[in-house]
Symmetry: C2
Subunit: 271 residues, 2 copies
């Protein structure tokens, strides 16, 4: 049954806005509610137990907003808390790992796939497990790129320094002969032009944020949960909730979304 209930998205902070941007582009008729857990970010340095607890709080909040589907737009939470979320939550839950992993496994011809992410994501081995779950023979080479988040947030997107950093981080992936590179961190789509330049045209970049949006579209369609879209209605501005006031978030929000967000509200989700 079509549903005008919103899609709920959460991330530890600002990175998931790249997922929100893709969701707005792919499903412009849907209402979106974004929760940035700015009071408790970053998740990447915290224990699994803590991340599961935070994720369940976030999911409960979004369910109170009547979300019809949840998107975990955070690699750490997707790799450590997805199972618990899918068990506890009564609506479909889509994480950011599996859609990108499926895409990568499906389009590699060399059988060698590269994954870049934060140290925590790489340490978790989540993409490797997911890609090899789709195609057992694929060789996965993962590299942590800790500076990329700071470079993306600094806005040095078309920049000689960023190119040099990317060359250094990506060299082992080039040497390994990968033909697909998964951008395994929600910040990295902002660096796509530099990554494409450094990897060359024979390496396909898989943007997890975009694959998530495609997966959400497909899930809504399959379950008949799409919003009935009255003709002529433009896209709705996403509703944004944060768990703490963050000048940093607000500065980056417009740059990442490429449009100004609506009003931002603040909520306390406990600890």
């Amino acid at each position: 049954m079509p549903s005008s209930r919103p899609i709920g998205i959460f991330d530890s902070g600002v990175g998931g806005l790249t997922v929100l941007r893709q969701l707005c582009a792919h499903a412009p008729a849907e209402r979106m509610i974004y929760l940035g857990d700015t009071a408790r970010l970053p998740y990447g340095t915290k224990s699994k137990e803590t991340i599961v607890r935070y994720s369940l709080h976030n999911a409960a909040f979004l369910q109170r907003q009547e979300a019809k589907l949840l998107v975990v737009a955070c690699n750490t939470a997707s790799s450590l808390a997805l199972e618990e979320l899918q068990r506890e939550v009564r609506v479909p839950v889509v994480g950011v790992i599996l859609p990108g992993a499926k895409k990568a496994a499906g389009c590699s011809r060399s059988g060698k796939v590269g994954v870049i992410g934060t140290p925590a994501t790489v340490r978790s081995g989540a993409y490797e497990t997911a890609i090899r779950g789709c195609a057992r023979d694929i060789e996965v080479v993962s590299v942590a790129c800790p500076l990329f988040v700071a470079l993306a947030e600094e806005g040095w997107l078309d920049d000689d320094i960023t190119v040099r950093v990317a060359r250094r981080y990506l060299e082992p992936l080039r040497a390994a002969g990968i033909d697909v590179l998964v951008l395994g961190c929600t910040h990295y789509p902002l660096l796509k032009p530099v990554l494409a330049e450094v990897m060359g045209k024979d390496v396909r970049l898989v943007d997890s944020a975009e694959e998530v949006a495609i997966e959400v579209e497909r899930t809504l369609k399959e379950l008949g949960l799409q919003t009935p879209s009255p003709a002529g209605q433009g896209p709705l501005p996403p509703e944004i909730y944060l768990t703490d006031r963050s000048p940093h978030f607000l500065e980056l929000c417009e740059r990442i979304l490429a449009f100004p967000p609506g009003e931002v509200e603040y909520v306390d989700l406990g600890r």
Copy 2:
């Protein structure tokens, strides 16, 4: 009265270890207890209200360990919560802002002082206020250097990329003709060689961590609170407490301290 009670140090995470290192070097006879609030880091993106609450929790924990003096080894907490801490806590509290500010004001001859820090520290204007509180006529030029923390944590300390990033960030300070540069972030002492190279020998670097250690030494002496140091006793390994398990912290701990820490314990300080 001499006291063998410990010095308590807290930071939001790993940065304050540069302060701990200096304290160990300047006051090797003292017991040190370091609390890294890894469950709730970073502080730089959070509201004043939240930072004051976290800081009071941290101080209460260190007082339960019978600390005779507290060091706030975190620029954000020092700039936003020091007054509240000094009001609520019954032992002396030393922050990281004032010692560096005093030193900078005292040794500038050109009357132009540069300050580098995280965006949150620069936004707070805390160093500017403190320096001009010491010497009203000094002109303070502040620059946020968001990539420096990531570069320091990456260990790219003697590195062409770091030199390029530093040149870009520091150019406005060179152009302004400063003769003193305050390292207003606890991570930055790790980058001192690069910063010295880029600024040249006519610019004096003020290392806040070192100035804090000198200030703590002086305070203990003035109040007669130094540990009676039995002859032949070597420095004690610091006791380290974290509010969440953090592989990231442990990886960086030995690199920053330049010696392995003792056992790390975990505590829950609430929210």
